[in-house]
Symmetry: C2
Subunit: 430 residues, 2 copies
Amino acid sequence: MPPQNRKTDRPGPSRRQFLSSGLLAGGAAVATGFGATRSAAAAGDPAITEIQDWNRYLGEGVVSRPYGVPSQFESQVIRRDVEWLTASRESSVSFTPLHELDGIITPNGLCFERHHAGIAEIDPSKHRLMINGLVDTPLVFTMQDLMRFPRENHVYFLECAANSGMEWRGAQLNGCQYTHGMVHCVVYTGVRLKHLLDEAGVKPSAKWLLPEGADASAMTRSIPMEKALDDCLVAFKMNGEALRPEQGYPVRLVVPGWEGNMWIKWLRRIEVGDQPWQQREETSKYTDLLANGTARRFTWVMDVKSVITSPSPQAPINHGRGKAVISGLAWSGNGRIKRVDVSLDGGRNWTTARLDGVSLPKALHRFYLDFDWDGSPLLLQSRAIDEAGFVQPTKDALRAARGSNSIYHNNGIQTWHVKADGTVENVEVS
Amino acid sequence: MPPQNRKTDRPGPSRRQFLSSGLLAGGAAVATGFGATRSAAAAGDPAITEIQDWNRYLGEGVVSRPYGVPSQFESQVIRRDVEWLTASRESSVSFTPLHELDGIITPNGLCFERHHAGIAEIDPSKHRLMINGLVDTPLVFTMQDLMRFPRENHVYFLECAANSGMEWRGAQLNGCQYTHGMVHCVVYTGVRLKHLLDEAGVKPSAKWLLPEGADASAMTRSIPMEKALDDCLVAFKMNGEALRPEQGYPVRLVVPGWEGNMWIKWLRRIEVGDQPWQQREETSKYTDLLANGTARRFTWVMDVKSVITSPSPQAPINHGRGKAVISGLAWSGNGRIKRVDVSLDGGRNWTTARLDGVSLPKALHRFYLDFDWDGSPLLLQSRAIDEAGFVQPTKDALRAARGSNSIYHNNGIQTWHVKADGTVENVEVS
């Protein structure tokens, strides 16, 4: 938009220069399979027959926004919550707008949130991380201390165990932002937890860790030592810059491939012990109640999963028949995705999708299927297979194994019903 | 920060709970090599002997910011310009704060800007891309049309040809944000330019393209057909979300490994021709005037280059002697980085740095060197070698070959002088 003080000297619209170059002669008025219009046929399109403001006036200069923000035309691309889902927003969740995104990196401003006592707003100069318990030397680290250890960068997905949880009982929510939006994927910069534990000196009897958050909920989870020494990070950056407050600024635990609840944010203490602590978040919560009344516990790994992000209820097909792109995400806590299949007919026939780019373990994978839509209704499904050989199950198969009491760990196949008019609904097929 | 209305019931500070667990007994007051303090010695640290606000009060809830922003404690992490550098901010540059970042991904809000007529603020529903000239069928694409072609995601650096340009005449600017901050690296989502050209049908005589921007400067550059068909993208997303306005929203050209001026933003037209157009930006500008009065032209590839981002003038060593991390970036328009060497003594001795993570062609590479600092002054340098075998030259070698008239394509080795007090200056060594 041109600055206010220039509006007075703006004349009415006129024909754009490039249309006076004689290209309008000839050419039929037929669109190609991709919808592109032969230039002659576009002659009546006001978008190209009028000069737009952005061609005629100087725009805002550099550092008009020292920290940049999205275009005003992207205001619909935001995290959203479901107000009836929780009693208060301090202990609630917001969802990543997966249907608006592409590739595998989630922008920091759009990563879903899950808090138990709101967002701790921490002064990093006053923050400390303590390691205590079964160690030779209990230690206290400043943020600067942490940044003196060897650093690594890794791309990992983070999924809440409750992602898709409401779908256990059937199709509930109309949009992949709500059904699958408790997942994000960023590059973490941090130090291996192993290095910090080595510095404190772990005693031979030590088998478990209890990381603790500095927010008012003081979130805690028991983590086995084997995982801590394998690939856990103490991270202070995401996508190149400092962690965001809602993602644990200034420091969080990264527990690759495991449920998000364990990735303790605002990390202030790690206690070393010889057995799990049986905290609320691993007894009353984050366990899976089976049909027979017993519960699965310590179900840490996020199983192989996928979802088609476009088309989807919030991202209908607006362009009618012809060339179309199916785009989606797949991930597994077991490592890399080996293959993704897509069905247009509710799971009767499957086509292998194209996996995009570099395949990274425990990261989102982007898949595409390019196809010609004939305008008939579709029952879209995706099915991921990981490098460990796990195959994403149907929802019915999951329910047969675990009943329908569960909230957590629903990795069942999602179905979108694409109607003839291009609108899309969340449905179930049996 | 707790909400204003809760301030009245806040008592004075008291000892944090985790310090009453008996861990303070024993332990010497000596810090480890990484600066971590034995917990007993931390007993006098107010940061851990007082309960902080963030432990005691509920924080802001979810979607308090539907599109998230950085912590208030990161307000120094911004793009900056140099006011005396240009006559107006509409035709100017801002710089990426490289010294504050890590990994290889630049957050969208911090990617440097270079405009010639300010930021065009474009309504995507009214934007069109035309392909005309030596084609069988001139075509006009809407944004929706573009998104029906097969999509790809790639991580590429974008460097302005003038990056480090002021350093041709010696050490000028005190900070890698200013000396090297006209580079960023993001994931682009887009379609191959080749697919769009195929749709229009390129005539056999076509050898060159002229992409044109929709801003008031109508930026144009001649690009050889061979490059267009090789790896150029017409991109509409960066780091997962829509391009930012200052990066060409809603669509820009991506010309991997080549100078940033050619990555036309706000892309509205691509003309196909049989020879270069000799535009201002490839005659008067973006050419390299040699000592003998002739000029290098069409110097498109950005040569192998690197810089240490920390320590650097804006990121001094604050922690004194002991364990320290040298962190930096390397890149090459020829492909992957094969090796980076680091010198602590102005280029007399070299140590091979650790290249972090996956190596991607024409992307930034992050390198680290972990070392023990004895507190003596350092002359830090980094030297990158790419997979094509090119070795980053000294500034003196560059000047011997090209004189000192140049502005563009300075890929010389940078030197930072680290003083005994940890402060850092931009210097030159011969």
